[in-house]
């Protein structure tokens, strides 16, 4: 490590004011602070600064996403081979599944990071500020919340849209009102709906010579199946699960079709553990988000007007992107509510509305995306009223003491 530090220090003067590469200062600064904790100490006085800066915080989130990403890679292969009638058991053909998933998922991640970071570097250069770190997380979130069959150029367009319109317009990381990754997903969802929903986008069904799709192949996600029936689920090979509990255990572990990173509740909960342990994700938002979705599920159970409403509340949360949105999207510190009371309201309503949109409007099965974006917009309003309520409460106290 020392030689790297020495090397950086030796080339640093080139990028300082007056150096020959002064124009590339923001690029150098971005790389240097990425590799080493910056030495931005206080110059005088007794200030204590935590060593963790935004790059370190963002990277912790990336680490928290790794279980979901690895599972998504494996599941991409798993679903693919299931449709071909091969390797039915979770552990059969592990390497084949991982390799297949890697070939499918890695390009998405590379394109997302390449385009996003390219634009970030460009804007940092043009505006002369340091490079925003926020994209470290968004760049991985974007591929994880997309179906595996989405074309690469669409990922590139959506990433560019999310970074420019979702973030840079407002002034970069820390200023955006919407979660950039969800902006990218919403853009794709409305711009290219045939590639973002339906029964053909979730699984790669390309068969090699001599292979054929199994009879009764169905690419439907659990969300799509729930509209018809809340008890009889089939896997992608069209085989019904032994029991409802069996179906839901599969959903819990994540052996079902869906967006790359969203299927496995277990993998996401491991990530949630990392976020909560390091204190980077807000437990208030996660808990209230879950409660919101659960309460809405209970209300629908009591109502029970159609099959979708009869899905048990706890299972309702296992489907679609509920947990993924809860742990990685809703907790985005920039676009979420800032006050503690505000976080409770924000999280609760996001979960509540997510399940509501999903059930009421089958055309928008991914209601979680809509509800989180909606609550992103509402978050400043919530904060405003929370702060005002606090101000009013304290004003009252002043009046009492004056008497």
């Amino acid at each position: 490590m020392k030689f790297l530090r020495d090397y950086l220090d030796s080339i640093k003067p080139n990028f300082e004011k007056g150096g020959k590469l002064e124009k590339l200062h923001s690029v150098f600064d971005g790389l240097e602070t990425f590799l080493f904790v910056p030495r931005h100490g206080a110059q005088s006085g007794a200030h204590i600064r935590d060593g963790i800066d935004m790059k370190r915080a963002m990277f912790t989130v990336v680490i928290a996403m790794i279980p979901a990403m690895l599972f998504g890679i494996w599941n991409t292969g798993h679903q693919h081979f299931l449709t071909l009638g091969m390797f039915a058991g979770p552990l059969d053909g592990l390497m084949d599944k991982l390799m297949f998933g890697l070939i499918k998922v890695l390009p998405l991640i590379v394109v997302s990071y390449g385009v996003g970071l390219g634009i970030e570097f460009l804007f940092a250069q043009l505006r002369g500020h340091s490079i925003n770190e926020g994209f470290l997380v968004s760049g991985l979130l974007i591929p994880l919340c997309l179906p595996v069959e989405v074309p690469l150029w669409m990922v590139a367009v959506a990433t560019a849209f999310a970074v420019v319109i979702g973030k840079e317009v407002f002034g970069g990381t820390g200023m955006n009102i919407l979660n950039p990754a969800l902006t990218a997903r919403a853009f794709l969802f409305f711009a290219y709906p045939t590639k973002m929903s339906g029964n053909t986008v979730w699984i790669n069904t390309s068969a090699e010579n001599g292979q054929a799709l199994v009879d009764g192949y169905s690419g439907e996600t659990f969300l799509a199946q729930s509209i018809q029936s809340s008890s009889n689920y089939v896997n992608v090979a069209g085989v019904p699960y032994e029991s409802a509990t069996d179906a839901w255990m599969n959903a819990f572990w994540g052996f079902i079709p869906g967006s790359i990173g969203e299927t496995s509740v277990v993998a996401i909960l491991i990530g949630a553990g990392v976020l909560l342990f390091t204190g980077i994700g807000s437990w208030r938002i996660m808990l209230s988000f879950f409660l919101g979705g659960y309460v809405m599920g209970l209300i629908f159970n009591a109502w029970g007007a159609n099959e979708f409403m009869q899905v048990p509340a706890i299972y309702q949360t296992f489907m679609g992107g509920f947990f993924f949105g809860m742990v990685f999207m809703a907790t985005d510190p920039v676009s979420a509510a800032q006050t503690n009371v505000g976080k409770w309201i924000y999280g609760f309503l996001a979960g509540f509305l997510g399940i509501m949109i999903r059930v009421f409007n089958p055309a928008y099965p991914e209601g979680i995306m809509m509800s989180i974006l909606f609550m992103n917009v509402m978050a400043p309003l919530i904060d405003h009223y929370v702060v005002q309520a606090n101000v009013n409460r304290r004003l009252k106290r002043v009046k009492v003491s004056n008497q």
């Binding site: 669409m154 367009v157 319109i165 317009v169 853009f187 409305f190 711009a191 290219y192 590639k195």
Partner: protein
């Protein structure tokens, strides 16, 4: 808006001034950029969102607004000394409404398909803030000559934004310009579509028009130093 109103009313044109004096030329050039009705005054946004899906519609709409605004400006300017100020809004409405009906009938007679696509938005020209705004702010206090120029300037300023937005939306939304397929036929998948390109459905939806207008404002403000507000 109110500041601009006061400012414009101060610009009373003297009798001896020629029609294309320096001051009068600004009446045409200002609304194109520095004082654009859509991107700076943020008026007429409703129609900018609704009828910019195709260039043809946007063009017809711009021509219609040009006619209504120019004729309305001149008529109101001619009548300006006889209109009692208490009922001036009603008088303006009557004049604009008759002009709009005229436009509507002409469109129905000669370009029926476009008229059908524009549907209510031709009638809604009456409520277009730009028209009432110009009548109130300019025509009521100025002679017919400058009022004519002001009408042309503002409707051109409105029109070019409308058409710019429509060009972007039609190209990305349906791969066409003025109805001509530039990228191949999307229904049979020829041209660019054969290698996997797809039309962007979001471009056809109104929210994208708002974003396109926003991007135009962004570019305009970063280029035009007069519009950069002091903090």
């Amino acid at each position: 808006m109110s500041e601009a109103t006061a400012e414009l009313q101060e610009k009373e044109v003297k009798k001896s001034e020629p029609l294309f004096s320096k001051k009068n030329k600004k009446l045409i050039t200002d609304p194109l950029n520095d004082d654009n009705p859509i991107t700076v005054q943020v008026l007429g946004i409703c129609s900018a969102l609704a009828i910019t899906v195709q260039v043809k519609q946007a063009f017809v709409m711009s021509i219609s607004v040009l006619f209504v605004l120019v004729a309305g400006n001149v008529i109101i300017s001619l009548l300006r000394n006889t209109i009692p100020s208490r009922i001036r809004i009603i008088v303006q409405l009557v004049i604009v409404a008759s002009l709009v009906i005229l436009v509507d009938q002409v469109l129905k007679a000669f370009v029926y398909d476009v008229s059908k696509q524009l549907s209510v938005f031709v009638g809604l020209i009456i409520t277009n803030c730009i028209i009432m705004g110009r009548l109130e702010a300019f025509a009521l206090g100025n002679k017919p000559g400058p009022a004519l120029l002001d009408g042309i300037g503002n409707s051109l300023g409105y029109g070019w934004i409308l058409i710019a937005v429509a060009v972007v939306r039609e190209f990305f939304g349906s791969g066409k310009f003025w109805g001509f397929q530039l990228l191949g036929d999307s229904s049979v998948g020829s041209g660019l579509y054969s290698i996997g390109y797809m039309n962007n459905n979001l471009m056809v939806l109104p929210p994208m028009a708002l974003i396109v207008v926003g991007v135009i404002i962004w570019i305009q403000r970063s280029k035009n130093t007069k519009l950069i507000e002091a903090h």
